[in-house]
């Protein structure tokens, strides 16, 4: 019965407060689980309002990056200077570990940064240059001064008509269907 070409129903709001309220209502009234909220600024509490989600792994990935960069570099230095081609440089020991630290530190930082950004983009599903929402006329203001709530069609409890009715009650500026 659900329309395969329907991506979801999108409601546009003027303020963050209205959006927050709408999110709350939508979840209580429809038991809707798959909602998405778009805003020009991060809105505190919005994520929690949208429902339970599994924690972000970004800090973990950055730690991993740091270890990979740092330990990796140090290991490489040790291998090169002690195992592969030991050379007497200025009478210093071949394994001059204090001198090996600086590059390791720099690479640790670099590794962490790279992993962090990648983790952020990937878990955000970015880059994604083509998206159904970009079809929507007014969605352009999501990056300016408008707030949007999207009820996704893939939600088992999704029913286009009902969704529209409820959203209408939330004093949105507009409500429209988003098609694939």
């Amino acid at each position: 019965m659900s329309d395969p070409h329907l991506y979801g129903v999108l409601a546009e709001f003027a303020t963050a407060e209205q959006l927050l309220a709408a999110v709350a209502r939508a979840r209580t009234e429809t038991r809707h689980a798959v909602l998405e909220a778009y805003s020009p600024v991060p809105v505190e509490g919005l994520v929690e309002a949208l429902g339970p989600r599994k924690a972000d792994r970004i800090p973990f990935w950055m730690l991993l990056g740091a270890i990979a960069g740092g330990a990796g570099t140090f290991a490489l230095e040790w291998y090169a200077a002690v195992w592969d081609y030991p050379i007497n440089v200025g009478g210093r020991p071949t394994g001059s570990w204090p001198a090996f630290l600086p590059p390791a530190i720099e690479m640790a930082v670099l590794g962490a940064a790279l992993f962090g950004v990648l983790a952020m983009l990937i878990s955000n599903g970015l880059p994604r240059w083509h998206h159904p929402l970009f079809e929507v006329e007014s969605f352009g203001r999501a990056s300016n001064d408008r707030f949007f709530l999207l009820l996704r069609a893939i939600d088992p409890k999704f029913d286009p008509r009902r969704a529209r009715e409820i959203l209408q009650t939330l004093t949105p500026l507009t409500v429209r269907e988003v098609r694939l």
Partner: protein
């Protein structure tokens, strides 16, 4: 001083009450999207481009002839190019510090400065990176500093501070680019959505990576920004310690000193802040950014400039003190040389710019006067370059063995490369102010949002 700042921050608002999401968005993005190229911009760009071309030609000549086109010799085997390198990379530090350290300490006033400060960082670091490579006798082999499996089975020499610095520069450049770019994504999305033509929409849209401002995306975005800021701060400190070690690893009197790393960090902040002021104030005027970059911003910057300036002056003092306290004949001879030697004028000019001049900043009226601030900042920038020249040349030209003492005289190309590097920097910077928002829109919006909540 920090306490004082906080109190003032509470007092006057950092942004006009009337500002809204819409106004911010349209005002700032208009600069990029709708503003015409002014005559000022065009002349500036032409000059910068000319200098950049001079640099390009110089590079060609250098590769054809060798570093001998500079005034280098034995004993003074380093000079302008290295001074330029240190000067530029130090300028970069100001940007990172303002945008990262102040972000961690939740200083909202940095929100109007961080974008162009970070940009300045990225370009300054890129420009600085040119010099260590060109400065090599055989620049085309610079990649030998990078550990890769080669048919010679030889590796870099990890004990050399130059090797450390090589990694430091790479890390610093990449991280600051990441930090800068990631922080720009939401604004790029804004430009994408407001672009007048399809072409420009695509252009910005490509770099916006399809940012839509979904709540969970914002959350992760914020997390990464915070953590990157947390990384950037120790990174810049380490980077400038490496730069310092490029010298202090040597045993030459005047270089062989443990004070160098903190000394260089302070110096870097000093010139960095100066550059932020010197760039920001004219830009603020040209683009009518007064609503966002208010007098308070300038005052705060001025105070920070004074603060680090005093730290720098302190390290001058302690250097001189330790020289005489050590009673090491070579150290003492060097110190005397700086005061009265052939390059004494460099030392005294440095003192004039970096010690005397900044004392004006104690005066509130001066702190509040944009023109004065620009003048002082330029003075500091000159002073910091001279300081690097002094550190390098007056150290090398007379070291241990009097028979090998010798003077350094710059050639045309020494000066051309310095001027050219400025040209290149300004070409990039002027393009930037035309292509991306010079003030971070979404961070200003956050301030509006904050106010809304305070009212609610």
């Amino acid at each position: 001083m920090a306490a004082q700042m906080r109190s003032e921050a509470a007092a006057a608002p950092l942004m006009d009450e009337g500002e809204t999401y819409t106004s911010i968005t349209s005002n700032v993005s208009a600069i990029t999207l709708h503003r015409r190229f002014g005559r000022l911009w065009l002349t500036g760009f032409t000059v910068a481009l000319a200098l950049a071309l001079l640099l390009a030609f110089g590079v060609g000549w250098l590769l054809a002839m060798g570093v001998g086109i500079w005034g280098l010799n034995i004993p003074v085997a380093w000079s302008f190019a290295i001074a330029d390198y240190v000067w530029w990379i130090a300028i970069g530090m100001g940007g990172t510090f303002i945008s990262a350290a102040l972000y961690l300490t939740r200083r909202d006033w940095r929100n109007s400065l961080n974008r162009y400060a970070e940009t300045m960082t990225v370009f300054a670091v890129s420009v600085s990176g040119i010099f260590p490579i060109l400065h090599l006798g055989r620049p085309w082999f610079f990649y030998w500093l990078f550990p890769y499996p080669d048919v010679m089975n030889v590796w870099p020499q990890w004990r050399s501070s130059l090797e450390w610095d090589f990694f430091a520069i790479i890390a610093y450049l990449l991280v600051s680019i990441l930090y800068w770019y990631v922080g720009m994504i939401p604004d790029l999305a804004t430009l994408r959505d407001r672009a007048p033509t399809l072409a420009r929409a695509r252009w910005y849209g490509f770099f916006a990576l399809g940012w839509r401002g979904e709540a969970r995306h914002w959350r992760r975005f914020e997390t990464v920004s915070l953590l990157l800021a947390g990384l950037a701060v120790p990174l810049v400190f380490s980077v400038h310690s490496m730069v310092a070690l490029d010298f202090s690893e040597g045993l030459v009197p005047g270089w062989h000193s443990t004070i160098f790393p903190p000394f260089f960090v302070a110096g870097a902040l000093f010139s960095g802040f100066a550059m932020v002021l010197a760039l920001g104030i004219p830009m603020r005027k040209a683009f009518h950014l007064e609503p966002y970059i208010t007098e308070r911003h300038l005052v705060n910057m001025a105070k920070m400039l004074l603060a680090v300036g005093l730290v720098v002056d302190y390290s001058y003092l302690s250097e001189i003190f330790t020289a005489f306290y050590s009673m090491d004949p070579y150290e003492v001879a060097l110190a005397k040389n700086r005061f009265f030697g052939a390059y004494a004028w460099v030392f005294w000019s440095t003192i004039l710019c970096n010690v005397v001049l900044i004392q004006l900043l104690w005066v509130p009226r001066v702190r509040a006067n944009p023109r004065a601030l620009v003048a002082i900042s330029l003075g500091v920038l000159v002073g910091m370059w001279l300081e690097r020249f002094m550190l390098i040349v007056t150290t090398l030209y007379r070291d241990f063995v009097p028979s090998s003492w010798g003077m350094f005289y710059p050639t045309f190309w020494d000066i051309a490369f310095l001027a050219g590097s400025m040209g290149l920097f300004f070409v990039l910077y002027l393009l930037f102010v035309r292509l991306v928002p010079v003030v971070s829109m979404f961070e200003l919006r956050k301030m509006v949002r904050k106010r809304e909540r305070e009212l609610a």
